[in-house]
Amino acid sequence: MWFIYFHKLHPLFVHLPIGILFFVGILMFVNRKNKRIQYRQSIYLGLMMCFATAVFSVASGWFLAQEGSYDVDTLWWHKVLGFSTTSTLLLLVITYKSKKLHAMITPILFLAAIGLMVGTGHHGGVLTHGADFLFKSNIGKKKEIKQVQSINELVAYTDVVKPILNKHCTSCHRTSKKKGELDLSTWDGIIKGGNSGSLFDRVNNELSLLSYRIHLPLDDELHMPPKGKSVLTEEIIAILDWWTRLDPCKDCFVVSKETPDSIQSVLKKYTKNQTNLDTANLKILTNKAVNKLLDLDIRVTGINNVSPLVSISLKNQPSISKKQLKALRQINRNIKELDLSDSQLSNAFFRQLKEYKNLNKIRLTGTNITDEDLKSFNGLMALKTLNLYKTGITNDAIKFLKQLSGLENLYVWQTKIDQKGIQQLQNDKPKLNIITGIDKKVFKSSALNPPVIVNKQRLFEDSISIEIQQNIQGTKVYYTLDGSIPDSTDLVFGESLVLHDTSPLSLIAYKQGWQKSEPIKKQFIKKTQKVNSVTLSSKPAAQYGGNEEKLIDQKESILDFKSGDWLAYQGEHMTSFLHLSKPEEINRVFVSCLSDTRSWIFYPASIMVSLSSDGNQYKKVNKLDIDIIEHKGVQQNYFEITFPKQKAQYLKIDIENILKNPSWHESPGGDSWVFVDEILVN
């Protein structure tokens, strides 16, 4: 059924007679100049071909016109001229053979055919491309976005939507070519809608008819704009979605209470930059220029395809040379930001500063700028941000700063401008944002970290030298050895501290301007009594490796229950009998236990110490009850059980397992473990 596509080939057919007629014209011209060349047959054949293809064009065009939606007047002229052209071509074919008529009529007919063809073609062009296609030049024209001072001035239809429709829709949907009977070139046409309905009709809650069509998948037949035409950008889609959901309104402004932020931000590009930038005839810097500047230590950043304005940095220069100044001067209108941090500036620089018409931000941190130099900033109309942090500017600068009318941000942290000066300036320029440094109230003096005790070992033979680490200079550390919390009346911790006896060391750090640290405490234990042997009432769990020897080897185990040094008991208590080689004066026992609640390991519920002189009759001397608290990670503690000093050779230590995991545990009621690695007797 190729036939149904026949009329679609009209745009192809119409070009055939044009080309052929053109060629025939050349042959005729050559033949006329040089009679000896016999082109007559070719010319005749060409005219016949021309006529035949013209017939095809007319026929296909006739059917195409049946589809409608073309401007009626233009179409009528197109048809009339098309028929006339074809008829003229027929006449040409007929008269060309006749010798009588030939010489006189052929040139006239030929010129008439050309004229008619031009007319037909022109009207055809108007039908497909629009009347203004021919004389509208797109070359060298900028995007015609209306620029306004604030988006409040934008009219939704005329300033925003209409240009979009004109760019993307009206090539098919306009008064002279109403595809689908839709005319988007006029307000009335928009309101009237097309065959499928109005733009504003709701397809569902979310989408208007227009939105529906532009959101369809690209290969959907109904997708608009159709395949091959330019695809709408997201921003445009967002605008059209929003606009067609509103009630149709010709003169409404863009901004109302309901305008969503997302639309407002898209619309922002319609607003003009309000600064008094002087960018006329300004060119984007070339690579070559940039490299030349770099050779002079002048670094250019922010070169972009849109704006000729760039950022320049010329930092850390002991002096700015004449060459550098000259180079800067050549591009002075291109400079939007100038960073001169820590450079030494000369008067010559300040003299040329007024020529930096587009300077928006200047950073003079750490430079030698003086109050008087600020005079030269007066002509900088575009200047918004002035950074004078870490300079010698004083209150005398206020009078010059007041004159900078466009200034928005002023950085004066670590200058000699005092609170009074700032107040004065702020009163004069209430909108100026003066940044003077952090709010001391927000960052009020924080607490010191507690000192860090470097020693890992807590057991020692005769004495131990304790060393601490405190990162903040000038911190004073105080300590106690009796378990109380130290304060600034206690002893000062010097370079190091030597302990000769078992003692709990507590430390605290102080420094002017800081809050004192949290106290920290660490028990140091002297190995005084060697336990001769030990017996256990029951064997510890074999898989963790602990045994009698490990219990009294006076070595510290690491915080890992799998280290092989821990004696482990699950769901049962632990009782151990310790034998000293001879009766000794003793007054305390330390038991090292592990707690790792996620691994079901808890501190014991209690530790009870009983003494005996003969190894048979034990007498309880003290019992320590321990609270089981939930905690994270792994902990270890030396539990200390003290009792009145007395002579004894045998000790019995009862370590009470809590037996069942507590209710807060993630497996409550499970058989819990107790891990012990060392028992020390003092």
Binding site: E234, D261, S262, S265, V266, I284, N287, L294, R299, T301, G302, I303, N304, N305, V306, S307, L309, S311, S313, R363, T365, T385, N387, Y389, N409, Y411, W413, I435, T436, G437, I438, D439, V442, F443, S445, S446, A447, L448, N449, N471, I472, Q473, G513, W514, S517, R598, E630, H631, K632, G633, W664, E666
Partner: protein
């Protein structure tokens, strides 16, 4: 055949075919005009004495930010304890997560086997208050960050596609869940080069959290260069004696000797380069020179002893401990002042599957004061307006408890469907809250921001169109946002 020639032929077969496809005529023309047909190395990897030169001669549009400080919170901080206040979760504490809310979402293997999903809010433990003009919610865990609310843009509607750490961090860093693509900082180095010839354009600082010290590890491919030139990979600065590994000269070699050695090596390399024209030789030479200069510049930037006491006070007591997050924040500011383009911090330990209340206390204390101090410190120096500071993790945490919910203890599993990050400076609107989540804190109800959107926005602020910064590799063009990503215009000022 000489292996080098073989390699260069292999390298250029594709280029040859690609160019012939356009037409042998072009090839002939380029030959006639004396262009080197096999020339490579014009794709942004060249260095000169002025640092790394980016591939973009011009940015795509004016940039609002010149550098990025990305405070990456590794492990997935819980938005529900820090930023996203959900009173309903307290009201419904202990009741099961309605299936209409979960909507069949796939959970991780760590909590998918749970019989119930008891909801849990921040409760009385971490009460929330509103701060600043935007009325942004912050919990008491963030006493400092909350006070600078007017300088922050809090995005509560981030979401990601990955549910586990490695793919999620890789996704955030490279735009793809599979390893092998360049990290965000590497893309910026490739596109824009370095601003300081003595330092790399992309630096990395790591710290461990006190909340969960043995948490998820990190690995150097997260700041890797992927298929870009190795010049663009992130350089890790450590707190130890050698801030940059293998940078210092071996014992017995002084700088004069080193210089001499480099000069001779340069001469040799130059000879080789003349002969083969392999661009790798040129960039290797440049790297030696960069390392030589970094021997001076790195110790200078890393020794923070010259910072005054009030700076330490501002960043908090941890800032004096080398290797801490707070100390890294001070370093980040120093690197920013030196013109390093992309400074990435990683703070580990946010992965609170259990013991969340105690873990998050430690984590928040690690980062709260120092992060806020960094923003304010940049502000008082006038650097905040062109430095983009980002704080956020790779995903959020579930609104239900992983494991048993007790009176005082619970955990939270990974949650990719919504989480919170904040940004400050660099042309992002200050004092703003963007996006909303539902009452359950499970799904996003307004203005969702995908990871690719986030990446597109960062590039946009740097003056780069995320669709145009591409690198051709294995026959197709790659970009940070792959084939997706939309700039979040709403949060740009």
């Amino acid at each position: 055949m000489n292996p080098f020639e073989e390699r260069s032929l292999q390298l250029n077969r594709r280029a040859f075919l690609g160019k012939s496809a356009i037409g042998i005529g072009t090839a002939a023309l380029s030959g006639l005009l004396g262009m080197s047909f096999f020339s490579k190395g014009k794709d942004g990897i060249i260095t000169e004495n002025k640092g790394i030169k980016g591939v973009l001669n011009k940015l795509h549009h004016p940039a609002q930010a010149k550098r990025v400080i990305y405070l990456f919170q590794s492990g997935g901080p819980s938005q529900l304890e820090l930023f996203d206040y959900k009173p309903l979760l307290d009201k419904r504490r202990g009741t099961n997560l309605p299936s209409s809310i979960r909507n069949g979402q796939r959970l991780t293997g760590m909590s998918s086997g749970q019989e119930s999903f008891p909801l849990v809010g921040s409760g009385k433990m971490f009460p929330f208050k509103q701060y600043g003009q935007s009325g942004a919610w912050f919990s008491d865990l963030l006493p400092y960050t909350s006070k600078i609310a007017d300088d922050l843009c809090v995005v509560r509607s981030m979401y990601t596609e990955a549910i586990n750490h490695d793919p999620a961090i890789t996704f955030f860093q490279t735009g793809s869940q599979q390893p092998g693509r360049p990290s965000m900082g590497a893309w910026m180095s490739y596109g824009m080069g370095s601003e300081n010839e003595d330092l790399p354009a992309f630096t990395v600082l790591l710290s461990r959290g006190t909340g969960r010290p043995q948490g998820q590890p990190l690995y150097s491919r997260l700041w890797g260069n992927g298929f870009l030139h190795s010049l663009h990979q992130g350089v890790q600065f450590r707190s130890a004696k050698d801030p940059v590994l293998y940078l210092n000269d071996p014992a017995g070699i002084n700088r004069v000797n080193r210089r001499k050695m480099l000069d001779y090596l340069d001469a040799l390399n130059n000879k080789q380069y003349q002969e083969y024209g392999d661009p790798e030789i040129a960039s290797r030479m440049a790297q030696y020179e960069m390392a030589y200069r970094m021997q001076n510049s790195v110790p200078d930037v890393m020794s923070i002893d010259d910072e005054p006491d009030y700076i330490y006070q501002m960043y908090g007591p941890d800032s004096t401990r080398p290797g801490s997050y707070a100390a890294n924040c001070i370093l980040a500011r120093r690197l920013a002042e030196k013109g390093v383009r992309f400074i990435q911090l990683y703070h580990m330990g946010w992965d609170a599957h259990f013991d969340l209340p105690s873990q998050i206390k430690g984590q928040a204390k690690d980062v709260d004061q120092a992060s806020a101090a960094l923003v304010m410190d940049l502000k008082q120096r006038g650097l905040l307006d062109d430095t983009l500071v980002i704080w956020g993790g790779e995903f959020g945490r579930t609104n239900y408890s992983q494991g048993t919910l007790s009176q005082t203890n619970y955990g939270r599993d990974h949650h990719p469907r919504c989480f919170t990050i904040w940004m400050a400076g660099g042309g992002i609107k200050p004092g703003m809250v963007y996006g909303e989540t539902d009452e359950f804190g499970y799904n996003i109800t307004k203005n969702p921001v995908h990871v690719h959107d986030f990446q597109a926005t960062i590039l946009h602020q740097m003056g780069i169109d995320h669709e145009k910064l591409v690198y051709k590799h294995q026959g197709r063009r790659f970009r940070l946002t792959d084939v997706e990503g939309h700039v979040v215009n709403d949060i740009i000022s």
